[in-house]
Amino acid sequence: MSNIVFRMDNTSLTYPQHRYEKKKGFDKTTIGPITLDLYQGEVLGVIGRNGSGKSTMVRMMAGVFPPDSGEIEYSGSISLLAGVGVGFNNLFTGLENTYLYGSLMGWSRKKIDGMLDDIIDFSELDNHFYRSFRTYSSGMKARLGISVATAFTPDILIIDEVLGVGDQSFKEKSQKRVREMIDKSGTVVIISHSAGLMTKLCDRIALMHEGKIVFVGDPTEAFIKYKDILDLRESDNSSE
């Protein structure tokens, strides 16, 4: 087995309850405890029903959400690709938003300068790149978002369901771009509901259910177990 580049050890996070939830006596939502190692060069898929804790787990992995307990260790740089377009300013031009986004990600101006041609080419925005962001259509906003967000390749790349933006040709183009990033990045974690994409791309798949990883391993086996969970859920619903 290759070297470990990322490790989550008994990591858990409990969502604080709002006053309404406390009043109604709702159970607290806890993600974890999760123990997971990532190996250099592997692509790990994460699947599970909506609300199973996938996005929270990857946010803990990316250092966006600090865990309540447990340890997270990593080497190199980690980047979370999620919520394309977050951080953009409506009054700014595409160019200004590129610098703003880059500085939010911690990239230096020099580094952004070096990536600029690639961002303009990939986004296909041409002269619109120098116009105000608020004049963009939703497709153009998505193009700029994914172009900027995928311009830099980290050592560990985490992708949270961002491959479905833009029109069909841009979707294909961005999926190709992400595949290139996967090839360049040492290690990738990817969340997607697309079974075809996941079995094709991933070396291992982690199946999440009710905030915990219930299976990690062969992609085909993971989807069989996922189907069992969905079937069980359906039969529970129909018996009610």
Binding site: F6, L13, N89
Partner: protein, 284 residues
């Protein structure tokens, strides 16, 4: 494990809450490119659309000062040519304080979407708002220039201290507001409460009144001591003295008291912010 195995570093291991007051300064320096872009964003958001652009930074306090001076003249029934500049300095200082305070209180709620997608020092956003307000206050000082000619005031080297006093006012507003940000994200009533406090604060701050009026009214008893805890009292008075060439004779303990609250809130407020902000963002 092979010899060239990557060395794993803890993701949150070095995060120490006690170091938070220092971390704010080091983060601001290390991420100065981001701070610069955020200041540009905030300035553009306010002034890119209006036809008069940045001129509003001068027009707004000038119009307010004219209105307050007019109201004061009606109330007191006499006119003092230097009163308008006294009010103008008060308006610039007080607005800087209030904007830095409210921006710091709202920093998490305004940027929560971003904080849920990127790992970023959250306090930086309130620091950049404070610096934006400082830049605007410095631009507002241009409104004072005509008064130097009208009142025949001297351009002296001491005027260079004005930006430092403005920096202190901005810092005070920020430090008093930043610790409330995690609470404001969870309890919207906090925002309402701070709006109320700033309205009351207008009357308790030397915008329409002066240090001289205060000492005449309350002497140097306990009320005077309490009034000196207001972080804008001494800075606004000092700025007026520098510009008008007067001396309000603020006692040494007055200078000490004006530092106390901002420093206490800076030290403990940044620690509280660091301890609570992450969880507040998770819950939002």
């Amino acid at each position: 494990m092979t010899n060239d195995s990557p060395i794993l570093k803890p993701m949150w291991g070095t995060r120490s809450i006690i170091r938070s007051p220092l971390s704010v300064i080091t983060d601001t320096w290390e991420r100065r490119e981001l701070v610069r872009n955020l200041i540009k964003r905030d300035l553009d958001t306010r002034y890119r659309e209006p036809w008069l652009g940045y001129s509003w930074a001068v027009i707004e306090p000038t119009l307010l000062a004219i209105a307050y001076t007019f109201a004061f003249m009606i109330l007191r029934g006499k006119s003092d040519p230097s009163y308008a500049i006294i009010v103008l300095i008060g308006v610039i200082g007080f607005q800087l304080f209030v904007k830095s305070f409210t921006d710091a209180v709202n920093t998490l709620s305004k940027n929560v979407n971003l904080f849920q997608f990127t790992r970023i020092p959250k306090a930086l956003f309130s620091v950049s708002s404070m610096l934006t307000n400082l830049v605007l206050a410095l631009v507002s000082l241009l409104a004072l220039i005509p008064w130097f000619f009208i009142l025949d005031l001297e351009f002296q080297a001491e005027l260079l201290l004005i930006p430092l006093w403005l920096l202190f006012i901005g810092f005070s507003g920020w430090s008093l507001g930043v610790w409330l940000a995690p609470l404001a994200l969870r309890i919207p009533d906090i925002v309402k409460l701070t709006q109320f406090i700033t309205k009351i604060g207008f009357f308790l701050s030397p915008v329409m009144w002066t240090y001289e009026m205060l000492t005449k009214l309350v002497g140097d008893g306990p009320i005077s001591i309490l009034m000196h805890l207001n972080p804008v009292l001494v800075p606004i008075t000092e700025m007026r003295d520098i510009i008008l060439g007067t001396s309000s004779n603020v006692p040494p303990w007055g200078y000490l008291l004006c530092w106390i609250l901002p420093m206490i809130f800076y030290l403990f407020g940044t620690m509280y912010f660091e301890a609570k902000a992450h969880k507040a963002v998770v819950a939002a």
